[in-house]
């Protein structure tokens, strides 16, 4: 306990204290000026990012807290998505949220703290608590429009599904504990291999445990067939929170999945232990997610529901990289999430601004946007084309890497499914662009985003284009982060 380097906890502790500070600040300014709160939340997240760059690398509490490259890579994604969610909240914070604005921003930060702890967890107990710390603030945030029935319904559905999934996840974790006698993921791997080597087989309890953990995390990721809650929650929740849910919370699920499966149960993806391969289960779920998500998205008329189905499909693509369970696979997952952060947050930010202005989420009401607000129509087109995977935008490089990893690992059929569904997805993304540019209707709406929302959009566009043309730095970093797993 003596030579522990406590400083690697500083980013998390700072963000936690900053969230408390925002609660206090809200009281201090007598709940009058929502802008100060928003800016201070953004400042806090920026400082956390800087602190993360200074204080990292190390292990605390006998390995319960690991500040390794994977954790840091994903922490940057969490901080980025929280930053963008806060940035796009300025307009609703001054108009729609009349009470508890400080708590609104504070809870976003708390959820981010939870994600950061989750991504550093290398042990089941901390992993589980981190996951709950991530989702409990989100239950509250989803129901934050307290007089809006849709929002309250979204909060309720998210709570029931979230608690249900964590109960299933816990049951799976308890079985894993029972099979190995430990909650430490690395020791778990060693114990399982020992049992396997000495007896040649492991009881079917492990399969049940794996299915339950996949189901539990699958609910959080909105992986088919555990996705039913996503469109409703996404539609009802405040739009910045929807964006945060679809990026930050999913990235948290991805990192938990990587920790448990790719790190702990990796041996069971190899040919030696084929009967216990979790890869095939996840591959089938990923294929189902891509097919169902993309096809259902085709007939959505509400942009938030459409983006919800699109994000169900996107998580399917991410899982293609995950089942590859190779260095390239994990790196491509990281890179995909990084680009997805920009593209999805950007698209949701436009949806937020638009909803603020018009009160409508219908895709049809975007018609003629290119004439009144050409810049934002162009932004939106870039985000959607990146989600569809059109070169030279970031989404293309991300999809390319994921598919390469899939083929390398021998999942050719899955990559073919992914390619075909990508083509389908192009249709509904292009449909919005068509509505914006080539609609015959007379445009009436002009949108004026606030400065922070503009900033968020600018960062997203630059990120997508820059990292699409020069994927090198991010990819190298992602490859570095994938090295922590012993493949």
């Amino acid at each position: 306990m003596t030579d522990q380097n406590w400083s690697i906890l500083i980013p998390e502790i700072f963000l936690f204290i900053w969230a408390l500070f925002i609660f206090g600040l809200d009281l201090g300014i007598k709940r009058k000026n929502p802008k100060i709160l928003g800016y201070s939340a953004m400042a806090g997240l920026t400082i956390t990012g800087i602190l993360l760059a200074i204080f990292n690398g190390g292990i605390l509490f006998k390995g319960m807290f690991q500040s390794d490259q994977l954790a840091i890579f994903f922490k940057v994604i969490f901080i980025g998505s929280a930053f963008m969610a806060v940035g796009s909240s300025f307009d609703i914070a001054s108009e729609k949220i009349r009470h508890h604005r400080g708590e609104y921003y504070g809870l976003i930060l708390f959820s981010t703290v939870g994600m950061m702890f989750l991504s550093s967890a290398s042990e089941l107990i901390t992993l589980y608590i981190g996951m709950e710390l991530t989702t409990i603030p989100l239950y509250v945030l989803a129901a934050f429009y307290k007089d809006d029935k849709l929002s309250v319904e979204a909060g309720l559905k998210y709570l029931i599904v979230g608690a249900f999934s964590s109960a299933i996840l816990l049951y799976g974790l308890s079985l894993l504990y029972g099979l190995t006698g430990t909650t430490d993921i690395v020791t778990m791997k060693i114990n399982l291999s020992l049992v396997f080597l000495s007896y040649g087989k492991i009881g079917p309890g492990l399969i049940l445990a794996m299915i339950m953990v996949i189901a539990g995390i699958g609910f959080k990721l909105a992986l088919v067939p555990f996705h039913m809650w996503a469109p409703d929650v996404y539609q009802g929740a405040p739009t910045p929170i929807t964006a945060f849910l679809s990026v930050g919370s999913k990235a948290a699920g991805v990192v938990a999945f990587a920790r448990i499966f790719v790190n702990g149960l990796i041996a069971f993806a190899s040919d030696v232990m084929k009967p216990l391969d979790w890869g095939i289960i996840v591959a089938i779920l990923a294929a189902a997610a891509m097919i169902l998500g993309n096809i259902t998205a085709l007939r959505q008329r509400n942009i938030k529901r459409m983006l919800a189905y699109s994000s169900i499909a996107q998580i399917g693509y991410v899982m293609v990289g995950m089942v590859a369970a190779s260095e390239l696979g994990i790196a491509s997952v990281g890179y995909y999430m990084f680009i997805y952060l920009f593209a999805n947050m950007g698209a949701f930010t436009i949806a937020t601004i638009f909803n603020d202005k018009t009160g409508s989420d219908g895709i049809i009401s975007y018609s003629g946007l290119s004439k009144t607000s050409p810049i934002f129509a162009a932004y939106m087109s870039i985000f959607l084309l990146s989600l569809a995977g059109i070169p030279p935008l970031g989404g293309f490089a991300a999809k390319y890497l994921v598919f390469a990893a899939g083929i390398q690992a021998g999942y050719t059929w899955l990559v073919i499914v992914a390619l075909l569904t990508s083509v389908v997805s192009l249709y509904y993304y292009a449909n919005i662009i068509k509505t914006m540019y080539f609609s015959a209707e007379e445009p009436t709406i002009k949108i004026h985003p606030s400065f922070p929302a503009n900033l968020v959009l600018l960062i997203s566009v630059i990120g997508i284009i820059l990292f699409g043309i020069f994927p090198g730095p991010i990819l190298d970093w992602a490859l570095e982060s994938a090295k922590i797993f012993a493949f």
Binding site: H99, E103, G106, L107, F110, T126, L133, P137, G155, P204
Partner: protein
Amino acid sequence: MELAIFYISAIVAAGGALMMILQRNPVASVLYLILSLVALAVLFVQLSALFVGSLLIIVYAGAILVLFLFVIMLLNLRGEKFTSEKPILDKGTKITLVVLFFMELVILIKQMAFPQRMDSLMTQASPDFGGVEPVATLLYTKYLYPFELTSILLLVAIVGAVIMAKRDKNEEEGER
């Protein structure tokens, strides 16, 4: 003797749980759940988990379920508000239930041999295994980090619950 205690408690626990699900009156539902939890606490003590067993009674039965009762009484809910259940959905869920149930049981029975394989790792438990002191010592040493995390978690839950349940006055509207 041990087996008799197990079977009595298990039947009470499972029966209480079943009655909790089937009961239409929410207050009676909560009471059945408390009954089920008390039986579970007996089992926990039998499994030499004294601390967890007492937590179950103090925290669960004593605090959480009383909170449930408060909410039910605050909302003045009555049984007659329940609508009749839809038969189609019911059938599907019952099938899910049965499948899950069978799956689990089959797997558990097959898995039974597993711990015996590991008995080389097994050591004799100390007499105060699961008492308050060893658990508390661990909580404040080895598991200090998750323990501190739960303090953040509880803070978040308190803040969240207060925001959700608070009735906002519309005084701010007037100021604008």
